[in-house]
Amino acid sequence: MVVIRRSVTAALSRHHSSPLALLLNSLLLLLLLSLPFSLSYPDGEATTTATTTTSSSSLPDQDDWINHSFLKQLELSGSVSSSVLTVQISPSSSSSSPTQDSFSPYYFTLPSTEAEAVSWAKAILKSSSQREVLQVESHGPLKQDASTHLFSVRIPKSSIPSASASSPLTLILETTLNHLSYPLPSTVKQNGEMFLQWTGDAAIRSPYRTEKGRVKVKCPHPKILSFHPDASQGATKSGSTITFGSYEDVAPYTPGSEVKTGSVHYQHVLPVISMVELDRLVEISHWGDNMATEDKIWLRNDGAKLKGHFSRIDHQMATFYSKANSHVLSTLAIHLPPGSKEAYFTDSIGNVSTSHFRPSPSAPYSLTVPSNLLPPSRVSVLEIQPRFPVLGGWNYTFTIGWNNRLGEGGWGKSLGSNEYLVAVPFLTPVTDVAMDQVRTKIVLPEGATDIQFEVPFEMDSISTETHTTYLDTKGRPSIVLSKSQCSEKHGSLIYVRYTLTPSAHLRKPIAITAISIGLLLSAALLLRFDVKIR
């Protein structure tokens, strides 16, 4: 760049009236402006909104509720497992001192291994007449017993009078658990089979008395090496489901009481993938009617590590037989929202051509549905094949990106009087992939003011900063949201509302016009001086 400028200025001094040289110089100056440069702006005010966890919590009064039936269904998978806990409850007649609030809390106790793995929780209350979604609060470990964590939901008192032993309330707690199982054995040959082990509660753990209940563990594959407690102690296996139980008249959990631990050793025929870091950048453009998304992903295979050496020949032969190296990640299909186009897949070396993109038309009415749950005809599929097969313990860092139309795709809405509302997905959900640290940066057009946003779930930290990129004069306001321990359930939309006046919208072309006027004026001035030596 410097060399070119020197030659141009040298040429200019020789033929200072040459229009070509002037044009070249002005073009270079324009190029300089158009190059993106990121100045280090200080971060805006960072607010941390962590879940309210009190480190010392105590068990509730065990007489508040009675569990008539307690069914825990754990569905195990690779890096993301899920659990559905269905309890039929009714207030105990011997409950003392009713509180004055309009809510009555119900507490769940979970073992610490499971509680620390919880990435998403939702509770549904079903009574004879209605169905309601309740907010789940985490209270952290018990004061007297660090191996148990407390969670609670607030049941509205209006639903309680109708509940009795004959028509109990049904409370369903759905949780998503990250990294619950681990590979056992921890190293496996390249073409060997991989097995995962789960350890957890095989009995009932509840702060209230339970009349009957059982624990069911469902594995992804019917081949189960072992489970404990085994058939001799009452557990049954049917297909790929193990049932521990049934338990009758279980006493409420007290600190120090033993809950039977169970374990299941099962086969997993797919690779265990997790995204250690996901950095998302979303740029909203009004001139281009576009929402550009770029994801920088650090992918890791959390399955069994490789025993011995990697043999490329064995890998090529085994790709014909899908079972042989099933725990090796060779391709990953990412479902992008409908209407995505111009997708790219690059890494630190450059473009990775081993990928296939199948676009689909825009579907403005399916925006709220997570893209991994949409039917295959609706969704855009980006199938990526890393440069090398990712074996157990190996990492792969790459960047994917795509564009979405704001208007046609239904992502951006105009509210009139220069106000706009855009919906931005927090992350792209991929089935059975745990995301350990997610950071999303939403960049709004330059000159956007009066910014308000709504997040679908609690973030670990929210901050604002100024992002400078192509053709910016004062930088674009941006919102940075970060959350740890996410899964496909966090693919919901973030709504951002902002005001963009026409003068702010025209800032870019006017800035370039001003620079061009400056250049041409200076050219006009310079051309009037005659510096020839006569």
């Binding site: 607010t47 281009g288 009617d289 208007g407 239904g410 809405k413 105009s414 709504y495 006009a524 009037r528």
Partner: protein, 86 residues
């Protein structure tokens, strides 16, 4: 900038019921607009260099402003046409 703690779902409902965003200029036309504006800017700049430099004239100022406007909008249209949505 504040995170408005409204009831969850108000923006969601507003988003679903509002009119879709319409850009100032249809995006499919931007490549053609870019070509027309930038060639006009190039020609205007060329014409500016042919103007006599004996005295100042308002005609010269007009040509300067016109060429710059064409260049300004042409550059923004060019950026969008090649895929850098600014």
């Amino acid at each position: 900038m504040r995170n408005e703690c409204e009831s969850i779902g108000t923006k969601k409902a507003l988003h679903a019921s509002s009119a879709p965003f319409v850009s100032a200029v249809p995006v499919s036309l931007l490549p053609y607009i870019a070509f027309v504006l930038l060639s006009a800017a190039f020609l205007s700049t060329f014409y500016f260099t042919t103007l006599p430099k004996k005295s100042f004239s308002s005609h010269e100022a007009l040509v300067i402003v016109l060429a710059s406007l064409e260049a300004g909008f042409g550059i923004v249209a060019l950026f969008n046409a090649v895929g850098v949505y600014v």
